[in-house]
């Protein structure tokens, strides 16, 4: 208790002469720091309304609401987040999880109001003063992710291993890989609307994640009776809109579907799907063609109790899936797995029966309660350029048919394929394999009207074709096949500038000065297929209506104007498998409605 103890506290007085620390104008002098988490901003144009922000918000502060000027379309739900500042806690998890990176926080932090109802707003849509603030919280970079951005790499055969045989090249996911891949899903469900069959994608991905294959299979069969096939060759439009793909790589939805189907033994299908002992309702339906549309219709009709008979022109079922798609992409045993299950539901199939030749459509009309036609596109189209009548000019579809049937086909040393679609890639790669077997090297050129960026074939198809040493040279219009001494010398092409005119009609423009010549002694045309509906006799045709490109007009139930006839698949939509499946599914319910009300 020294005198010091009494005096030292007074040293505080020396602070009297220090400059005051008071902020002069606190309301304006202190903007939030660079990373400050203030009020929300949203780039409405980038936002796709996936709802991840809503899902992660622990306070249920975010609602998804429709905003004027942003319509629902593929890959965009048309909804935008609305934030309730009576709930928000400014944690910015919504920003960090945002799949597109559109949502951020500004550094503005003052919002005072007398009315409590004011504190709800759609960021970006209401012209708030902080909409243009540069500063504020953004998702930290790099290596700061709430879900995996990278796909699990799918193991496939090396080009050297695969380029001379028809073994399946994609190996499929292991359990670990599939679960890691499935883990990336944010369960927004934006993909569902884009899938032609509206499959429950997030649901079956969840089944993969939770390793519940039986549930996964049930989800698959709700909308798609050909999962093994679709899991391999679907055009996976869903993946193009996947919200995870905006910042990283989209989910491998197709491979996950395949994973589920691969895990379940075909012997267990009936037990899992509960399809034993379906009661027959005594009504019969004829299905023409055992392609995806026909099989899908047959499957769902059988589940509804109808007795279905399929008429197939070839010796085996599957249609284009078997006869159009090469085995290295879709092995025949996998096709059989899906088809055998459908046939096991009590579906009859008559092989080698062609409508119009072995039995007429009117006979079917009289014998069955309803008819579904899913006959597909089996006629190859020709470019019609000079030289196409040569014997070594082939139609891709015919060649693919023959390869499937195991027939010997002509394989030249140098081949040019005209066309840039998936079928063109299929024939290119099939022929490349045959060339490898025969000559030990590949000399394939695929040429297309479309430019490199607009090639209709899937990106990976083109990539893999190139890996197999085929050349894909896009942007050329075929002019003439040069024939000398009765032998094909090659194909003359000119640069294609544009394909469609201002009205969107097919009207290619060429640069006649920019020429090229592809040497070849065999040419394959693959510029699309046409339908063969000659089996529809004139009297029936009179009952039908036809739309553009000769397609039969159907209503939303796939029902044609001849009420007993339902039409689906490539001949009305597509061409691809998944549209066929969707059509078949709809037709089944359409037929059921039609027959119940008859």
């Amino acid at each position: 208790m020294a005198i010091k103890d009494i005096l030292t506290p007074f040293t505080a007085w020396k602070k009297v002469f220090r400059e005051p620390v008071t902020v002069k104008d606190p309301l304006n002098d202190r903007p939030g720091a660079e990373r400050y988490r203030g009020f929300h901003k949203n780039e409405l144009k980038t936002c796709i309304g996936c709802g991840s922000c809503e899902e992660i918000c622990e306070n249920e502060a975010i609602d998804l609401v429709a905003v004027k000027g942003y319509d629902t379309k593929d890959g965009d739900s048309g909804l935008r987040p609305m934030v309730d500042y009576g709930r928000c806690c400014w944690c910015a998890l919504c920003v960090d999880v945002c799949t597109t990176g559109s949502l951020t926080l500004s550094n503005e932090y003052t919002w005072v109001a007398e009315d409590p109802e004011e504190f709800r707003f759609v960021p970006g849509a209401e012209n708030k003063e902080w909409d243009n603030n540069e500063l504020g919280w953004k998702k930290p970079t790099p290596n700061y992710e709430f879900y995996g951005q990278k796909r699990q790499t799918m193991e496939e055969l090396h080009p050297e291993e695969r380029d001379h045989s028809f073994i399946e090249m994609i190996k499929g996911y292991s359990k670990e890989q599939a679960q890691l891949e499935a883990d990336r899903c944010v369960e927004c469900g934006i993909c569902i609307a884009t899938c032609p069959a509206n499959m429950g994608i997030p649901e079956y991905i969840k089944a993969v994640r939770e390793d519940d294959m039986e549930y996964g299979l049930k989800v698959l069969y709700e909308t798609n009776p050909l999962p093994e096939i679709c899991g391999r060759i679907c055009t996976h439009k869903c993946e193009t809109v996947c919200s995870v793909g905006h910042n990283g790589e989209p989910l491998s939805i197709r491979w996950l579907k395949r994973y589920i189907a691969d895990q379940v033994e075909s012997a267990d299908y009936k037990r899992i799907l509960g399809t034993d002992g379906i009661e027959n309702n005594g009504k019969t339906v004829a299905v023409i063609g055992s392609g995806p549309a026909g099989l899908s219709a047959a499957h769902y009709l059988s589940l509804l109790g109808y007795k279905v008979t399929i008429f197939e022109q070839f010796a085996q079922a599957g249609g284009m899936m078997r006869y159009g798609i090469p085995e290295y992409r879709l092995p025949y045993n996998q096709i059989d797995k899906d088809i055998d299950y459908i046939l096991s539901l009590g579906v009859d199939i008559k092989y080698n029966t062609r409508i119009g030749k072995d039995i007429t459509l009117s006979e079917l009309r009289d014998k069955y309660d309803a008819v579904f036609a899913g006959t597909g596109l089996h006629l190859g189209r020709s470019t019609g350029i000079p030289g196409t009548d040569h014997e070594n000019v082939y139609q891709a579809i015919e060649l693919l048919n023959k390869i499937t049937e195991g027939k010997e086909i002509h394989v030249a040393e140098k081949i040019v394929v005209i066309g840039g679609g998936n079928v063109a890639m299929d024939i290119t790669r099939s022929l490349a394999r045959l060339q490898n077997q025969k000559y030990g090297r590949v000399q394939m050129i695929a040429t297309a009207l479309e430019s490199e960026e607009n090639l209709p074939a899937d990106v990976e198809e083109v990539l893999e074709a190139r890996e197999e040493k085929a050349i894909v040279n896009a942007g050329w219009g075929p002019k003439e096949i040069e024939i000398k001494d009765g032998k094909i010398k090659g194909l003359h092409v000119v640069k294609c500038l544009s394909i469609f005119d201002a009205e969107g009609r097919f009207n290619p423009k060429f640069d006649e000065d920019n020429k090229n010549f592809f040497e070849a002694d065999m040419v394959v045309e693959s510029i699309g297929q046409g339908m063969d509906i000659n089996y529809i006799t004139e009297d029936i045709k009179a009952e039908l209506k036809f739309g553009p490109r000769g397609r039969i007009t159907v209503d939303e139930n796939i029902q044609s104007d001849a009420k007993w006839l339902f039409v689906g698949g490539d001949i009305i939509q597509g061409p691809d498998v998944i549209h066929g499946i969707a059509n078949g599914h709809k037709a089944a319910y359409g037929i059921d409605n039609f027959l119940k009300n008859k």
Binding site: P20, V21, T22, V23, P26, L27, R30, F39, E58, N59, E60, A61, D84, Y85, G86, R87, C88, C89, W90, Y109, T110, W111, V112, A113, E114, D115, P116, F119
Partner: protein, 224 residues
């Protein structure tokens, strides 16, 4: 007036229950502590002065002397010390802290209110001198905020006491709180700071709301 709600009886403290007491002369007196020890008048509505100039002057003086009750109810109270100390120095804006409700006219509800605190807040609010104002901080007072699904915090403050100004944030910074005071001043000067009268007018509605969630209504209906 009191002890009407049967639900409350279960939680009534022993000393507040109605009981019989023997007077020195031997007579039995019935005692209802909640009724007998407090006045049970209802709050009065105080009409503004008819003279516009006088009323304007009064409002100006009210707005420039905001005396805040030192009762931090939630997280937001941690931003009150910075506000009252040299850096933000709210005193220069006429904002001062007072320790008791009797001396203050502004109540800062600084965030969530647990049911147990709400009861004290209501008592304190009723004891404050009118005209009195309520400043609500943060999400919690607007629509429940973080604790929207909690069994022990209220979601909407305006159901229990009238609120003048809301400040968004979780929690709001001292600057935002200061902006809230500015807004409150504006409101008072414009003659809209009528919270106390609103409370008196809709007294029954407020009481019903309060009693719905405060189970042990261990106090008189109105404390002033």
């Amino acid at each position: 007036m009191t002890n009407e709600n049967k639900n409350h009886e279960k939680f009534l403290h022993e000393e507040n229950k109605i009981r019989e007491v023997k007077a020195p002369d031997g007579s039995i007196i019935k005692v209802d502590p909640l009724n007998d020890y407090f006045l049970d008048d209802r709050p009065e509505i105080k009409k503004p002065k008819t003279n516009k100039i006088v009323e304007k002057f009064l409002n100006w003086s009210r707005a420039e002397s905001l005396w805040v009750l030192g009762f931090g109810t939630g997280c937001g109270s941690i931003e009150i010390p910075p506000l009252m100390t040299p850096r933000f120095d709210a005193f220069r804006f006429g904002v001062a802290m007072r320790p008791t409700p009797r001396q203050s006219n502004v109540f800062i509800i600084s965030g969530y209110l647990a049911v147990k605190t709400l009861k004290r807040v209501i008592r304190s609010y009723e004891q404050m001198q009118g005209p009195k104002y309520v400043l609500a901080l943060g999400s919690c007072t607007i629509n429940g905020g973080m604790y929207w699904d909690s069994y022990n915090t209220i979601n909407r403050l305006d159901h229990f006491i009238p609120v003048d100004v809301y400040v968004a944030g979780c929690m709001p910074r001292p600057e935002a709180l200061l902006a809230g005071f500015m807004k409150l001043k504006e409101r008072i000067k414009a003659g809209r700071g009528e919270g106390a009268n609103e409370y008196a007018e809709k007294f029954d509605w407020y009481k019903a709301n309060q009693k719905k969630i405060i189970n042990d209504w261990n106090m008189p209906d109105y404390n002033w």
